[in-house]
Amino acid sequence: MAEKFVKQYKTVHFNLNGNDVERSVDVRASLTDMLRNDFRMTSVKKGCEVGECGACNVLIDGEAFNSCIYLAVWAEGKHIRTLEGLLGPDGEMSDIQQAFIDEAAIQCGFCTPGFILTAVEILETGKEYTDAELRKLLSGHLCRCTGYENILRAVKKTMYKRLGKAMPE
């Protein structure tokens, strides 16, 4: 016989892209599921759902997480940012989004939101990183289109711009 089970729900209160929100969620749901299904944050992509590809990356209290292996209920009290939160009030793009466009770092676009959010995490440290360090910091994301080359250029360019330094050759 099939197991009898009763669905359990819990109300989660958190801040999503600057707004306080609450939702009653299935306690088994992942943060990816909640953000995509309940809030229609379609920038949160599903590539593997087991924390291998990085497509579902979001910032939780400023730190990058694979939202597919983060339970929705753990969002309680957290500040969560998705790519949707990066646009300015009048739809202005952030410098890092523009850099991804300018450096041709976008192809199919499926890994892009996750990469940009990790780039935000890196840039918000205000530190200067070497290429090797940037590669390591970005290595939680898989991309099959770009060979990562232009993504590195976009992040590096934005880093130096924010630091007010010329990019070394």
Binding site: M1, A2, F5, R28, R36, N37, M41, T42, S43, V44, K45, K46, G47, C48, E49, V50, E52, C53, A55, T82, L83, E84, L86, L87, M93, Q97, Q98, F100, I101, D102, A104, A105, I106, Q107, C108, G109, F110, C111, T112, P113, I116, R135, K136, L138, S139, H141, L142, C143, R144, C145, T146, G147, Y148, E149, N150, I151, L152
Partner: protein
Amino acid sequence: MPKNVGKSVARVDAFEKATGRAKYMDDLCDRSALIVKILHSTIAHGYVKSVDTAEAETIPGVVKVLTCFDVPDIKFPTAGHPWSMDPHHQDVADRMLLNRHVRYYGDEVAVVIAEDEVAAAQGVRALKVEYEELPFVLDPQKSMEEGVPQIHEDCPHNVLAHTDIRRGDYQKAIQEPGLIRVEGWYDTPTVQHCHIENHGCFAYEEAGRVVVVSSTQIPHIVRRVVGQALGISWGKVRLLKPYIGGGFGNKQDALYEPLCAWCSTQVGGRLVKLECSREETFVSNRVRHAIRTHIISWLRPDGTFVARKFEAFSNQGAYASHGHGVVAKGMGAFPQLYPCDNLECDAYSVFTNTPASGAMRGYGIPQAMFAGESHIDDVCRALNMDPVAFRRKNLMPMGYVDGFSKNELYADTFNQCMNKGMETIDFVRKYKEYQNQTGPVRRGVGVAVFWYNTAVWPIALESSSCRMVLNQDGSLQFQTGETEIGQGCDTAYSQMVADAVGIPFEDVHVISTQDTDITPYGTGAYASRQTYIGGFSIMQTAKALRERILNIAHEQTRMPVSNLDLVDGQIIRISDGRVLKSLGDLAMESLYSMEHSQHITAETTAQIKTNAYSFGCSFAEVEVDIPMCKVKLVNMVNVHDCGTLINPALAEAQVHGGMSMAIGFGLSEQLLFDEKTGKPLNNNLLDYKLSTFLDHPDLQAEFVENAEPTSPYGTKALGEPPACSGAPAIRNAIAQATGVYVRRIPITPHVLYAEFRKAGLIED
């Protein structure tokens, strides 16, 4: 003078993708969809005796369970090829929606349709399948042996197809005294496309028809296959293709669209969604053919080829999919790349009990180039010749014409590309410096070239259709059946349209989504055909639209058509250059005229009966840690002649991605199977070693631009070529560094450990 073609304009879909607004399949699916999950076979070969569905049907939320005993008795083909009116040239129809005869570990046995994912997954787990097991085989050459069970009833010795090429008299030619014989067997692995968006689709019925929205490269073809698989007329199917998260050939096949569409028809036309997990994508979609190639070359001591033998055994897996086309394309490169008077070439596509092999970026050429270009360095070693000098002497010369495709090598492309690559990587100096090294850590540089045919003529139909519709403000929408899959064709097309019509780039609006109800017929994204083939229908349709516009301009201005031009969105009188009116004013007047109202559109089909060679090369520099059996790729350069660049920045980005795929092919990627059960061992992104950010050096892409005379825009293939020559260049660099000429990829530490021990470079 082109104003937009040749410029690195930003992608037309960049804003959408940089902000997460671009809608992919799952973003478009209503949350009310029923969820379809598949039960895959847990044996590699056998028959399903029964499926006990009783327990699954009691699970709350399970709506319906369907098994291989329920499906229509129809076998259908899946390959993303244009339909052929010649029955002998049609794709092999060898699978059903769900299969009683299961032919690989992962075949489709049953589905559970449920209200949510959890119920669907629980339903699948509760199904009990009874199998009658048969012996299975994983290796294509073993599969051809006597006594091996037939995987498909009509294929003795499991050979799907065997084709050959004969030229001159090989047996006689090899009798020449003093020849040097070089022989090798070369193995390439089963790899997967690993687009970051898994394949998925959703389906529902509307007005007596079935609508499918799918992550596919080939909407018009999939529409036909859904019709075939369900046994309904093709007009009853509507297929939509939104943005897709990569394809690389996997989605150049009908994957689960037919099954998903059928599931909808079994629940009264309700909305159903079928999304592959990553684990399913690896095994139950398509993979790249693993090919074992045997090459024997007979040469004079001066480095002249006298006779060559080529045999390739291609692992087709369990179903025909793209069939023999892949290894046949690889074999087709052999006599052309290094012309030789005496040849014996044979290619076999052999069924095994492994995942079905289909199209993957390069379509047999990465495999053929690994074998062929590794072999060239083996020859150079035997003859003690410089690998670049040998290639210069023997590669297809300028002016070469292929008898079958009528392709011509119009320029001294190979030398130009190699020169540029050598300069970029500083090859001559490094090659000399890295000769005769000793010590545990050594460096090497290697080269490999490639051959790639653009598009599929004359093997199959090449046509493209385009529609343009002018708006009141003088801007236009256009659409083609050729699909944006990440490679950037929407942007390249928009550049072409702006120039061909004579309007500003901002006034060109591409309709990215293909909808078979609306989009003119086109076969989709494959064979690196998009810019080449699409260019014809865009040029032709733009011409037709301009003709209409100028005729209307004549009506409105009474100036002769011959004295009118459309430049930058303005109607110009040629004789004095005066702007008579804007295209927007013309369109307004035309649309709302009380005398002669007409909306301004054009639509044409271009059939293309040419094909174009695309060439290039890779240079790799490696550092090999011999005791650790580890290879570090230090430097890599690809040089391409894909004709005139339409968008240099996007072209460069395309090359980076192909190089990355080649690096994985050469050094790390391989889908493995348990010899005892046929079960896949590493069908996930943790255990399957896709290249990460840390596995690449800086990738350098260079171009040689020889305008292709057969293309209206001077362009030719660039989508697949970057993936073709990287792996053998890495292999040849390792050979220079260590003196060990590895003949299998991926060149992992496991492979090198055995090779280095054999060569006496390391001890236990």
